[in-house]
């Protein structure tokens, strides 16, 4: 009879020590993730107006947004901006990684040079593109008119389609090195002998890419794409500096609309509801990737 209780004492002591070790992590998760998230959910369920106490309105803000034509446009804009940006970033990042892996000369210099867009502060990037896209004195129009390709200046930032293309371009320029670096790291982890064996078997470069490189990069690509989707969906700086969401609401995205509703209209409840809308989509993406990674393990 004494043996089990001795074991129990040891087990209890072990468990206590275990909890003690986990405690800082629990405190961190509760303090830095659960509390802000819970608070945000709570605010989104209230009519919180800056300077006034919050009153519970249930799903009122979410329902209001479903009837808000600007919000509908914001959702469409965010989807176009995010998906188009990330798709092109994946392709350019892959090309960058392949080129860097095969570069025979000045490899370090090229790696550093291609990282420049990613390390420059976003505001500087946006301001530079703003100048380049200017209709009257911007680099692009001046060049196009100079070589006689266009006669009239193109209002890159003044028309809905070209304005969206412009903010996407700036975002791609800034973000593709992130893909390039991650994919390059992934490529270097693929055993060289796989390529050598494939070459001996007569596989073409395209076949080697398709059957060795791409499967080898699957995990890196998935995680990088997910992270980039989340960052791009939440991007504020590039759109705000380049167009302020304009012309009209042509490039208004979730982040700029949240800012406008929260800080200019002072309606925090509604603003937080705007920013909560993509949360289920992001959560689903995280679950998919987590499951995928777990299965791979």
């Amino acid at each position: 009879m004494t043996k089990p209780s001795a074991w129990r004492r040891v087990l209890v002591a072990d468990a206590l020590v275990g909890y003690l070790f986990v405690l800082p992590l629990i405190v961190l998760v509760l303090g830095l993730v659960a509390y802000p998230l819970g608070n945000a959910v709570w605010i989104s369920l209230t009519d919180k107006y800056v300077g006034y106490a919050a009153r519970f309105v249930g799903l009122g803000n979410y329902v209001t947004l479903t009837r808000d034509p600007i919000f509908h446009k914001v959702i469409r804009n965010s989807a176009v901006f995010t998906l188009a940006s990330v798709a092109v970033k994946v392709v350019l990042g892959m090309l960058m990684a392949l080129a860097l892996q095969r570069a025979l000369v000045a490899r370090s210099f090229l790696r550093a040079a291609l990282l420049v867009p990613w390390v420059i502060p976003t505001v500087i990037t946006a301001l530079t593109w703003h100048w380049m896209f200017n209709a009257l004195w911007g680099f692009i129009n001046v060049t196009l008119q100079g070589v006689g390709l266009v006669r009239e200046p193109i209002a890159w930032l003044g028309q809905p389609a070209t304005a969206m293309a412009a903010v996407i371009t700036a975002n791609i320029w800034r973000g593709f090195p992130f893909f390039g670096v991650c994919l390059l790291a992934g490529m270097q982890a693929i055993p060289r002998d796989l390529y050598e064996a494939a070459a001996v078997d007569g596989a073409s470069p395209a076949q080697r890419f398709w059957h060795i490189t791409l499967p080898g990069l699957r995990l890196v690509l998935l995680v990088t794409t997910l992270i980039s989707l989340i960052f791009t969906l939440n991007d504020f700086n590039i759109v705000y500096v380049l167009t302020r969401g304009g012309p009209g609401t042509a490039t208004h995205v979730l982040a700029t609309y949240t800012y406008e509703v929260g800080f200019q209209a002072l309606r925090w409840g509604k603003a937080v509801a705007v920013s909560m809308y993509p949360l289920p989509v992001i959560a689903v993406m995280i679950v998919i990737v987590t499951r995928y990674l777990t299965r791979e393990d």
């Binding site: 800056v50 209709a135 009209g248």
Partner: protein
């Protein structure tokens, strides 16, 4: 001594030094009480320096330590909103036009009626147009006027002369002049007017609207429908300069607040509406086009001259622990001598609201300065002809007015549909702004 031991010794020594620095024997002399002041960083650095210098001189005489922080036109509301929600408001702050109406309802502003009366005794009466900004409907002042930053027409007289156009005195003449300059081949896109998300957009739209006799509130400040012919005419004017006359630079709708400044300063447009900051650059840098640049009062409409307003004011926040010092600071910077010193460093940008300051010979320098001085007489607050309320402020702050224009110009909506959307937004704002 091992490397580890040496490293630990250095860290220990550093910690001991830090501990010593904090001990009573080495303590610094007692710190002066702080007073926190938030100011607008205007486009005229000389003016910013002059005000900062004035505040520092006052603080030295009172044995206080001034903590001065700046905001810009872009982040003024952001900074205050964050401070309100985190209880981090300063003692004294400058507010833009819509600030007093928004924040007094939240109970964040002290009653400054006595101070306002005192300043009137010292500097003469305030302009009528300042009262709706700083005085609540119940007659109490929660802010006192600092200065107007007036919006005027900037005219390139040489280009106007070349085209045979005259300086516009009505909104219709604005269109005529632009069409003429374009037709004569002087300039393809002479009119720098954006309906963007900055004061250059919603400010000028209000001037256009009020000059046509339009508004979105009645005299009591209640919502009134905008589905009427006045609004239709105004939106037609605003959209046709883009769609029919094609006299505006093609990307003007995406300009930020500095877009028209840049276009005018680089000679890409012949006229625009802006604060005097453009003139400051021309004068300060002695640009060649200065001699061909005229500032003139904005045009009149069928209902007369009723323009937008940018009036900066001073306030003391109710959370301040230094109320007397805060009021004294405002009293000092608004004293006749200090206010004039500041005014003269502003290169015509800062226009006083008090009559005695307005009579200073400084404003008689030339025709442009006289126009800048006169312009605030026609200033009308958001929500005119009603009082400036939190709801009226929100209509402007959420860009309803410029989104209305963008729906027609950018999205190709017809005017009726665009007006219906704007009307619904305004109605919703008036129904939901808290009056707790």
């Amino acid at each position: 001594m091992t490397l580890l031991a040496r490293g630990l010794s250095i860290v220990l020594a550093a910690l001991l030094l830090l501990a010593g620095a904090g001990s009573p024997a080495l303590a610094q002399p007692a710190q002066k009480p702080k007073i926190r002041v938030w100011l607008l960083r205007t486009y005229v650095p000389d003016a910013n320096h002059a005000l900062e210098d004035s505040i520092k001189r006052w603080a030295t005489s009172k044995n206080l330590d001034p903590v001065i922080e700046y905001f810009t036109f872009d982040d003024i509301e952001t900074k205050y909103v964050a401070a309100i929600e985190t209880n981090a408001l300063p003692d004294v702050g400058q507010l833009q036009t819509i600030g007093p109406a928004r924040y007094r309802g939240m109970g964040r502003l002290l009653d400054l009626t006595d101070l306002a009366n005192e300043l009137v005794r010292v500097n003469g009466p305030m302009l009528e147009s300042a009262l709706p900004v700083v005085r609540a409907p119940d007659g109490r002042f929660h802010a006192v006027p600092f200065n107007y930053i007036t919006d005027v027409q900037f005219i390139r007289t040489d280009l106007f002369r070349k085209a045979g156009a005259k300086v516009p005195t009505t909104w219709e003449e604005v269109r005529e002049a632009a069409r003429l300059i374009k037709a004569k081949g002087v300039m393809e896109y002479p009119l720098g007017q954006s309906w963007n998300r900055s004061a250059d957009g919603y400010g000028v739209f209000q001037a256009l609207l009020y000059s046509h006799g339009g508004g979105w509130a009645d005299e009591q400040g209640n919502y009134t429908s905008i589905m009427n012919d006045t609004w239709r005419a105004v939106v037609r004017w605003a959209s046709e300069i883009y769609l029919k006359d094609k006299t505006v630079p093609p990307d003007a709708m995406s300009w930020t607040g500095f877009g028209n400044n840049e276009a005018f300063l680089t000679g890409k447009i012949a006229f625009t509406f802006n604060g005097p900051s453009i003139y400051y650059v021309l004068e300060k840098e002695r640009r060649p086009i200065l001699k061909d640049t005229l500032m003139a009062i904005k045009p009149a409409g069928p209902a007369g001259r009723n323009h937008d307003v940018l009036l900066l004011s001073w306030t003391v926040f109710s959370s301040s622990k230094q109320v007397d010092a805060a009021k004294d600071l405002i009293r000092f910077v608004m004293s006749t001598d200090e206010a004039k010193k500041y005014m003269q460093q502003s290169w015509g940008q800062m226009v006083p609201a008090f009559e005695r300051l307005r009579q200073d010979p400084y404003w008689q320098k030339n025709e442009s300065y006289r126009a800048v001085l006169e312009a605030p007489k026609y200033a009308r607050t958001p929500g005119w002809p009603g009082p400036l309320t939190a709801a009226a402020a929100e209509v402007v702050a959420t860009h309803v007015l410029t989104d209305l224009c963008a729906r027609v110009i950018v999205d190709g909506w017809d005017i009726e549909k665009a007006l219906e959307e704007a009307d619904k937004r305004i109605k919703d704002i008036y129904a939901n702004v808290p009056s707790r």
